[in-house]
């Protein structure tokens, strides 16, 4: 991305990102901007809110309706008729549980690898001099500008060469410790005062000890942002998994979901439309819920992560 020439919001340092309501009223002398908002503002915002939430709410509720009701009366909701049939049918027909398991495994390993090795490398880029530093970091910046699409074909061939197609390695290693994580963490760690590191050093702390016991604790907010962004990206990732590991056994949650949709749009052979729709809404709902819960619990870290992540092209 053309990060150098444009205003990049939220990457100057990890904490400046969105000043929150509380921070605004408590700390900095924030402007008392304009007058009380008019009714029209609220109407506009409320309409947007309904528009943004309606599809999700509709799907979450509809998944509990009898499959035939979903298509015969998509707008009616009668709680007395609510049922778990769609969920039960979905668990029987679709390998959703193994999808969750695969996503979970990838999440744990890829997440851990990224969250450990990205700050570690970024620490070297931010606080040490070494041969090749500028060359490598320059290459990192170039990769940030490249659309990920370019790498799909050769990566797939590489996986074939390694015999890694339809394996966890294929899902975990490519894309872990990504250039963006390095770029962001380098900025975050650069803001850690050198005196702090030197103090630890004269105190007898080894170089890795400084990273582990001084740097990591200090950059915790930035790290939290990176963590939620990484989780979100891995959980939602679709293009690479569908290309590299789409076998039934290896399919991640998103890949499992996408095969369901194709049952509907592609060929409506086999199961009837109502049943598939019911299962599809149940599957979508169950895939939405973990991230929704995580987002609502960790809003601020999410927003930090999303804003910093916006530099990634």
């Amino acid at each position: 991305m053309t990060a150098s020439t444009l205003t990049v919001p939220g990457t100057d340092d990890a904490d400046s990102v969105p000043r929150d309501d509380t921070a605004a009223s408590g700390g900095s002398p924030r402007r008392p901007r304009r007058s009380r908002p008019a009714i029209t503002s609220h109407v506009f915002l409320a309409l947007l809110l309904v528009g943004f939430l309606a599809p999700v709410v509709w799907a979450l509720l509809s998944a509990f309706k009898p499959a035939n009701d979903i298509i015969s009366s998509p707008l009616a909701f009668d709680p007395s008729r609510f049922t778990l049939d769609n969920y039960i049918a979905m668990f029987e027909d679709v390998p959703i549980a193994s999808g969750f398991l695969n996503t979970g495994i990838v999440l744990v390993f890829k997440g851990a690898i990224t969250l450990f090795f990205a700050p570690l490398a970024a620490y070297a880029f931010a606080k040490y001099e070494f041969i090749g530093k500028n060359l490598i970091f320059g290459a990192v910046l170039v990769t940030l500008m490249l659309p990920t699409i370019v790498l799909i074909i050769p990566l797939l061939l590489e996986m074939k060469q390694f015999g890694w197609v339809n394996t966890y390695q294929a899902l975990i290693l490519p894309g872990s410790v990504d250039a963006f994580a390095i770029f962001w963490m380098r900025q975050v760690i650069a803001a850690v005062p050198d005196e702090l590191l030197d103090a630890a050093r004269v105190d007898g702390c080894g170089e890795f000890g400084i990273f582990w016991r001084v740097v990591l604790p200090v950059i915790r907010p930035g790290l939290a942002g990176l963590a939620v962004l990484t989780i979100m990206n891995i959980y939602n990732d679709f293009v690479w998994p569908v290309v590299a590991a789409s076998s039934d056994r290896m399919a991640t949650l998103q890949v499992v979901l996408s095969t369901l949709a194709q049952n509907i749009t592609g060929n409506r052979i086999g199961a009837d439309y109502a049943t598939v729709t019911g299962e599809l809404l149940a599957a979508s709902s169950i895939a939405l819920i973990p991230l929704l819960v995580l987002f609502i619990a960790l809003q601020r870290h999410f927003i930090n992560g999303i804003l910093a992540g916006s530099v990634k092209g």
Binding site: A59, I71, P174, P193
Partner: protein, 322 residues
């Protein structure tokens, strides 16, 4: 979260440590320890970057060079590759399918970007008002689509926009509008996909614009208020110009995303009906499924060039106005 922690903590710690360390230096034996520490300090960064560099070389740098080479061959994934020079590029540039995929993406861009910018700008300006009630509720609600998995949402789109059984046609039917083939006619498939994209990413743009708005000085507005500038005037002649860079940043990001759009057509329309939603990204995927890897590689480079040219053009546009 306020960032005050790291700056204040070291001060007392530091003074006590430096006092202790100078005492250390007076003993000769400690010099050896110090040299060892210095060596370690010189070597440490190589160890620290090694895992990243390994992954980076294996899964970014090498594949990139590989694509470049591949784009000049007719390799189909097995057997011997034959060097074909610029043939793949020329084939694509002379192929109506390639141009129509670019055209489809361009139409989607037009359907998405202006509408999204207007909505996001209005929402961001309203949310920037600290006195607004339910401010954080709105903000969270707007970002919900962005964090939810695209595939799940795309599937919901398939169900909701179904011609015969969908909720949207059901709703429109209440006011007497006849059923629309949202995903089955080539006129409506693009707008329906565009709506999905707008729905999914507008909250993200609101966040970017909000963070840009934080940097605008309130005094500018007060001055304008005294001059009797109305709300809309204020927005158009003060906020938008001052927010120019942030807006351009958002436009460049979204341009990249729109031209790479793949998962949406893959799940919702499979590029149809009649190729109307075969985006540039989806067209590229078609080469992969046909094992036409040389052409696919060339296509991906053409796409990179296109996207880079567009980004540069936007940056130029911005510079020209500065």
């Amino acid at each position: 979260m306020t960032g005050a922690g790291p700056a204040t903590a070291p001060v007392p710690l530091l003074s006590s440590i430096t006092a202790r360390s100078t005492r250390h230096l007076q003993k000769g034996e400690d010099m050896a320890v110090l040299t060892a520490a210095r060596t370690r300090r010189r070597l440490a960064p190589y160890l620290f970057v090694a895992p990243f560099v390994a992954v980076f070389l294996a899964f970014s740098v090498y594949p990139l060079f590989f694509t470049a080479r591949l784009s000049f061959t007719n390799w189909r994934g097995s057997g011997a590759a034959e060097w074909v020079g610029w043939d793949n590029y020329l084939y694509l540039l002379g192929n109506p399918g390639f141009w129509s995929s670019i055209g489809n993406s361009a139409v989607l861009w037009l359907l998405i970007i202006p509408a999204q910018l207007v909505i996001a700008l209005l929402a961001a300006v309203l949310l920037d008002n600290a006195k607004l009630k339910l401010r954080s509720v709105y903000r969270v609600a707007f970002v919900v689509p962005f964090v939810t998995p695209l595939v799940a949402i795309a599937q919901i789109w398939v169900v909701v926009f179904d011609q015969d059984y969908g909720a949207v046609n059901g709703l429109l039917g209440l006011v007497g509008v006849p059923d629309v083939g949202w995903l089955t006619t080539s006129e409506w498939a693009k707008p329906t996909l565009a709506l999905l994209f707008v729905w999914k990413t507008t909250g993200f743009i609101v966040l970017i614009l909000l963070s840009g708005l934080q940097s605008i000085d309130a005094n500018v507005y007060e001055a304008a208020g005294l001059d009797g500038a109305g709300r809309i005037r204020q927005l158009w002649s003060i906020t938008v110009p001052l927010l120019r860079r942030t807006i351009m940043f958002a436009v460049v990001l979204q341009t990249l995303a729109v031209f790479q759009m793949f998962a949406e057509p893959f799940v919702v329309t499979q590029g149809g009906p009649y190729g109307s939603t075969t985006t540039a990204g989806y067209y590229l995927y078609n080469h992969i499924t046909r094992a036409d890897l040389g052409t696919g590689a060339a296509n991906s480079f053409l796409l990179v060039i296109l996207v880079m040219v567009l980004s540069l053009a936007f940056v130029r546009l911005l510079r020209a106005k500065d």
